[in-house]
């Protein structure tokens, strides 16, 4: 297959998948709606007798839920019912992976943009439904920070989607991963909750506390590439339709 043919195949599969898997946006809307409801309580609060209680509002919870949505959606792409749907259009394993990579990027873009805008929905809802004295703090004034922030949201979602895709591919490769990976994830969550693991906290800081946009870009895209490489290698032995 020539490079041009590969490009054509990837494009065709991408648009086909976009139509076929549009249902994923249903779960996106539901996920973000639930996250917005959870956010009504505020992302944080402080109180004292003199000033009463101050609630801090941001769409952080929506972002975290969207990460989860991206992970699960990507995982679903590797399951048999989804793979069977793309059967007619798959030219080879590489074109399938590349179209999935682009499809997940498109999902991340839509998920990221809606998560970002949901922050405004949350804040307008707080203004309308809650009897709070609102204090504007004019926090972000630089357009560069806004653009960098939106791109970073998309990159983070893409990274989580790639992780989900990798996990799905590994499960295809060896069924034992279906037990092993959830066990590792649950174990890690327990360790984080018990504040027992410095390593996991360092991984979190490595990605989410980085203040250089360039480094965030490099770290997330490198992780995405690594995940897709592992996915490609792990599914290399499989037939196009197993």
């Amino acid at each position: 297959m020539s490079f041009a043919e590969l490009g054509k195949a990837v494009r065709k599969q991408f648009f086909y998948k976009f139509k076929l898997f549009f249902g994923l946006f249903y779960s996106l809307v539901i996920t973000q709606a639930i996250a917005i409801v959870f956010s009504f309580n505020g992302t944080g609060s402080i109180s004292s007798g003199q000033i009463g209680q101050i609630h801090f509002y941001s769409a952080d919870i929506v972002l975290v839920f969207t990460f989860g949505w991206a992970f699960i959606s990507a995982l679903q792409l590797t399951t048999k019912p989804f793979r069977d749907n793309e059967y007619l259009f798959v030219f080879n394993r590489l074109s399938s992976h590349l179209s999935n990579l682009l499809f997940l990027l498109a999902l991340s873009f839509i998920g990221g943009l809606s998560a970002y805008l949901s922050g405004y929905l949350l804040k307008v809802a707080v203004y309308m439904f809650f009897d709070f004295q609102l204090i504007g703090t004019n926090d972000i004034t630089s357009p560069a920070v806004v653009v960098a922030g939106i791109i970073t949201i998309v990159l983070y979602i893409w990274m989580f989607a790639s992780l989900g895709y990798m996990v799905g591919s590994l499960v295809q490769f060896q069924k034992v991963f279906a037990i092993l990976i959830p066990s590792i994830i649950i174990g890690c969550l327990i360790l984080v909750a018990l504040s027992e693991s410095e390593a996991i906290i360092r991984i979190g800081k490595f990605y989410f506390f980085e203040s250089s946009f360039l480094l965030v870009f490099i770290k997330t895209t490198a992780t995405v590439c690594l995940c897709f490489l592992i996915s490609a290698v792990s599914t290399n032995h499989l037939e196009v339709r197993k």
């Binding site: 249902g23 009463g52 707080v126």
Partner: protein
């Protein structure tokens, strides 16, 4: 007000949903999903526009007024006349002719309250002093009202203390990581507040032991 807002919000969503649903004509299998998704997208866009026209009062960063001794120092040493009048937030002047006055509050929570007896007759003068609380350089006290004090029959009600609720909108964490903004404040300059009651010496003030009330000069 809240009910009206909810109804308006729901109406907006229903109108967009109906429009999107009609556009899709429900022909395609995913018509419902498309209608739902585009309704949600429409709601997000409308909310974004609405947010920028909200009458949000923007706080200004201010220099922290922490100079000078604490308010408590002035009261403990009986030098209330030396307190900067800028720290007076509210004042009440009542004429009370009774001999007994019951002090009550509606949240079992009062700031430090100093009572000063005076030879003046029928005097009931109350001053609420406040040194501002700053959060990340913003004077939050500028947005608080302080307690409401009312006199009725033989009781003095100090209400609405610790009862105010405020909201501060923060950007999401991917924006915060590229700026020096934190979700929770790094700097929290705790202020002080004191209620000063000047009362005729022939009026007996009644209060509970757990209320933060101190008699000056005793």
């Amino acid at each position: 007000m809240i009910v009206v807002s909810v109804i308006v919000y729901l109406l907006i969503f229903i109108v967009i949903f109906a429009a999107a649903f009609a556009l899709n004509k429900l022909q395609a299998k995913g018509g419902f999903i498309k209608a739902l998704f585009f309704s949600y997208a429409g709601l997000l866009i409308i909310s974004s526009v609405v947010y920028f026209v909200l009458p949000l009062e923007q706080a200004e960063k201010a220099a922290i007024k922490s100079d000078g001794p604490s308010l408590y120092h002035y009261f403990e040493t009986g030098q209330t006349d030396k307190i900067d009048p800028a720290f007076i937030k509210k004042q009440w002047d009542f004429t009370y002719e009774g001999k007994e006055l019951l002090l009550i509050d509606n949240h079992n929570n009062l700031p430090m309250t100093y009572v000063e007896k005076s030879a003046e007759e029928n005097l009931l003068e109350i001053t609420y002093y406040e040194k501002p609380t700053y959060i990340d350089g913003y004077n939050i006290s500028a947005y608080t009202e302080g307690p409401n004090i009312t006199l009725s029959a033989d009781s003095l009600m100090i209400a609405d203390y610790w009862n105010e609720e405020h909201a501060i909108f923060k950007p999401e964490f991917p924006f915060r990581q590229f700026s020096d903004i934190r979700l929770m404040p790094d700097e929290w300059g705790h202020g002080e507040d004191i209620i000063h009651i000047r009362i005729s010496e022939d009026i007996q003030l009644q209060y509970e032991e757990w209320q933060n009330i101190y008699l000056m000069g005793e």
